[in-house]
Symmetry: C2
Subunit: 404 residues, 2 copies
C-alpha cells in the first residue's frame, strides 16, 4: 500500500504560503505516488493532536486556483518550537506511523526550519522511512542560503505601492509635510528597504530608510531629515519596527519602560513610528503623520506579486518532488543566475545550514550614509515584485477557500 503525505504550515501568515501549499498538494495528487494527501491543522501542534484534515477537495483544479489566492494559512499555524531532545520525537514518529505517513512537508520560516532539522535528524538516527522536507515562507526574507523567501516579494510590493500612493495623497495641498511609515521586520530590514522600490523616474518620495542593520541615533536622524525636507514638499520616512540604538537595544524598549515608570499604560503608546512622528513634530515643527501598515502588509493577496505567487507554488511542488525522491532534511530554495536579467532556479539546501540563522541586509546593499539602500538592493529586489496575479472576485469581494 502506498504511503500518505502530510503537509503543514507554521509561523506568521503571508499572501503566498497557501500558494506553496497549493503547489505541494496538487503535485502530490498528480504524482500518483501517495495513498492520501493530509494536512495537519496548526502546524506541528496538529500532528501531536492528530488533528488532520483531508485535502481531497484539491483534486479539483478550481479549488487549487482559489487556494493560490487565499492569503493567511489554510491549515492554521502555530509558534511551537520543539525541544532539543525528549520523548516528543518518539511520540511524533509513532503518530506518523499510525497514519501511514511517508513524507512530511513543513512550510514556514526560521522556527519551522528548526523543526524540519530536528525531525529529519531523528528520522535519520532512528532509520525511519520518512522524508521530512522544508518549504520556506517569511515576509522577513531572513533565511540564509536561498536567494529570497516566498511571501517577501508580495509584502515588498505592497509596501512599495502603498508608499507610492500615500506620497501622491500627501502632496495635494500646498504645504510641507512628513510621513513616517512603520514597517515589519524585527531583526532584518529587507521589508522596510522595499520602500525604496516606490521611487522611480516619475516620483521619488522615499528619502530616509531606517533599518535594524544600522544603529539609530535620534539626533543624527533629525539632522538628516532637516536637510532632506528643506528641499522637498513631501518627505517619506520608512522605519523598521526593529530599529535599535548603538547598544543593540530596541528603541521602543527604552521608551516603553520610561512610560511605565511614569505610570502610563504603555499599551496606549503607538509603535516606533508614532514615537518618531512626535520627535519630528516637536523638534522641527513640521506637520508630521505616522502610519503603521500593520498586518495588511503580510496578508494582502489582492496586490500580490505574480513572481512571488508562482515561485511559491513551484517551491511547494519541489518539496513533494524531493520527498518522492526519498530526500530528508532538505529545504527548497532559489538560486539566481549572475547577470542583469532575473533568472531564478529552484534548488534545495541542507536544512541544518539554515535553521536558527538569520540573513540580514549585507553592507553592499546599504547606502553609505546609513539612511537608505544602495542600487545593489534595488537590482536585487525589483524583479521579485513583478507581475500581478488574476484575482477572482465575487461581487467585488476577494474569493477564498477555507477548511470545512
Amino acid at each position: 500500500m502506498k504511503k500518505n503525505i502530510l503537509v503543514a504550515q507554521s509561523g506568521g501568515p503571508t499572501a503566498a504560503i497557501n500558494a506553496s501549499l497549493a503547489g505541494a498538494v496538487s503535485y502530490a495528487v498528480k504524482s500518483g505516488e501517495f495513498n492520501e494527501v493530509l494536512g495537519s491543522v496548526n502546524g506541528i501542534e496538529g500532528v501531536l493532536k492528530e488533528n488532520f484534515a483531508s485535502m481531497k477537495k484539491f483534486e479539483n483544479p478550481d479549488n487549487v486556483r482559489l487556494l493560490k489566492q487565499t492569503p493567511s494559512s489554510y491549515l492554521g499555524s502555530c509558534r511551537k518550537k520543539l525541544p532539543d531532545d525528549g520523548d516528543v520525537y518518539d511520540e511524533i514518529f509513532e503518530i506518523f506511523k499510525k497514519h501511514n505517513i511517508g513524507a512530511f512537508i513543513y512550510i514556514g520560516g526560521n522556527d519551522s526550519m528548526d523543526t524540519v532539522d530536528k525531525l529529519s535528524r531523528h528520522a535519520k538516527e532512528k532509520k525511519e522511512d520518512i522524508s521530512v522536507i522544508g518549504v520556506p515562507k517569511t515576509i522577513d526574507n531572513d533565511l540564509v542560503m536561498t536567494d529570497h523567501t516566498p511571501g517577501y516579494a508580495s509584502a515588498a510590493k505592497y509596501i512599495a505601492n502603498s508608499v507610492r500612493q500615500l506620497a501622491l495623497d500627501t502632496s495635494v495641498y500646498d504645504m510641507k509635510s512628513v510621513i513616517v511609515t512603520e514597517i515589519m521586520g524585527r531583526n532584518a530590514g529587507w521589508l522596510t528597504a522595499a520602500a525604496a522600490l516606490a521611487n522611480d523616474s516619475l516620483i521619488s518620495p522615499v528619502d530616509i530608510i531606517c533599518l535594524p542593520e544600522v544603529p539609530f541615533d535620534m539626533d543624527e536622524f533629525i539632522e538628516k531629515l532637516a536637510k532632506v525636507e528643506d528641499k522637498k514638499q513631501t518627505t517619506i520616512v520608512a522605519v523598521s519596527e526593529g530599529i535599535c540604538d548603538k547598544n543593540g537595544d530596541y528603541i521602543m524598549s527604552g521608551i516603553k519602560s520610561q512610560a511605565r515608570s511614569d505610570g502610563f499604560a504603555h499599551a496606549a503608546l503607538g509603535g516606533v513610528g508614532k514615537y518618531i512622528e512626535i520627535e519630528i513634530a516637536t523638534r522641527l515643527g513640521i506637520k508630521t503623520r505616522s502610519l503603521e501598515f500593520s498586518t495588511l502588509q503580510r496578508c494582502n493577496a489582492e496586490t500580490a506579486s505574480k513572481c512571488d505567487i508562482d515561485e511559491s507554488f513551484a517551491q511547494g511542488e519541489e518539496g513533494v518532488r524531493l520527498a518522492i525522491a526519498g530526500e530528508c532534511g532538505k529545504m527548497v530554495g532559489i538560486v539566481r543566475e549572475d547577470g542583469d536579467i532575473y533568472k531564478p532556479h529552484i534548488t534545495s539546501f541542507d536544512v541544518s545550514l539554515i535553521a536558527n540563522k538569520e540573513k540580514k541586509i549585507p553592507q553592499n546593499m546599504l547606502s553609505g550614509d546609513g539612511f537608505g539602500v544602495s542600487e545593489e538592493f534595488v537590482k536585487y529586489a525589483k524583479p521579485l515584485i513583478n507581475g500581478h496575479p488574476d484575482i477572482i472576485y465575487k461581487d467585488g469581494i476577494i474569493d477564498f477557500i477555507l477548511r470545512d
Copy 2:
C-alpha cells in the same frame, strides 16, 4: 473665437477624482467646443493665483487612461471656502474673462459644492456668460440628492477586502482575539458601514459596527462585545473615527482633554480605535489589537472599484456636457432605478439643494441594536464595489501621470 474651459479639483484626495478629471478633459477635447482646456492648480486658490496648467497632454488617450488610474488629485487641492459676499467674486470673474473662460468645472465634495453654488449665483446675478458646474467627489458619501458619490465605492471596496483579509490573518492561531479597525468618516458612517460587505456565506468576520449615526456608550459596547466574542474565535469591530457620546461630543475629545490635564502630550495617543482596544483588553482580558486604515483607504487605486471609476469618468464627461448646454449651478449626480438589479442613470441637480447639507445613513439601513447595518444597506452598497479596473504596472510599480 471659441472660449476656454477650466477644470479644478478640491477637498481630500480619492482613488476616483482623477477619473472624473479624465472624463471631463477628454470629453472637452473630443467635443471640439473649446479653444483650450485648462486646469487650475490647487482648486479655487489656483484661480485666484492664475496658476493654470495646460491639459494638452490629454489629447493622447494613453495619458487619459493613466490619469484614470492615478489616485489623489492631479491638479492638487485646497480647502478654501469662499466668503458669503465680497470683492473676491468680481476678482474671480475678472480672471475668468482675462483667460477667456466660458466654463468652470469644479470636482469636489461639500465645500466645493458651496463654491460652485456661490460662483453660479454670482454669474447669474451679474449675467456673466459662464457655466459653473459641480462634479461630486467624496469617500464620505455624504452629499444629498445623488445616490452615491465618486470615490466612495473604491474606498468601501478597500475597507471590505482589507477587513476580509485581516480576518483570515488573525484566525490562524488557536486563540481568541479581537481586532478594532478605525475607519474614516467624521459625521456620516457610510465608509465604516462598508466593513459589513466583508461578510459573505464563506466568512462573517464583522460583528460590531460603531457609527457616528448612533450614540456610543462604552458599557453597552463592552456588554455587546462580550456576548459576541463568547461564540467566536476572531471578532472584528469596525469603528468610525467620528463616534460621539449621547451629548453629540466626539468620544476622543473627552479622552484627549483628560490626557492633556494629566500632562501627557495628546499627540502620543492614538485615535478612537486605540482607545477602544485598551478598554477591551483591560475590561475583558482578551488579546486585542487596533488598526487605523489611515489615508490608504482613500487613495488606493490598485484595488479600486471598476463601477466607481467608470461612473466617476462618466460624471466628469456629464459635467462638460452640461457646460456646453449652457447650464449653470448644477451638480452632476446619479439616480438609481428601483428594483433588485443595479441600474444607475447619470443626471444633475441644482447645486443649491446640495451645498452645506450632509447625508447620514438613514434609519432603515441601520440594525435594530445600534451595532451594525441592515440588509437594506448591503443591497445599496454591494453593487457599487463591483469590478476591478485593469491597472498598468511598470516593473511591479503602479504607473501614474503627474503634472510637469
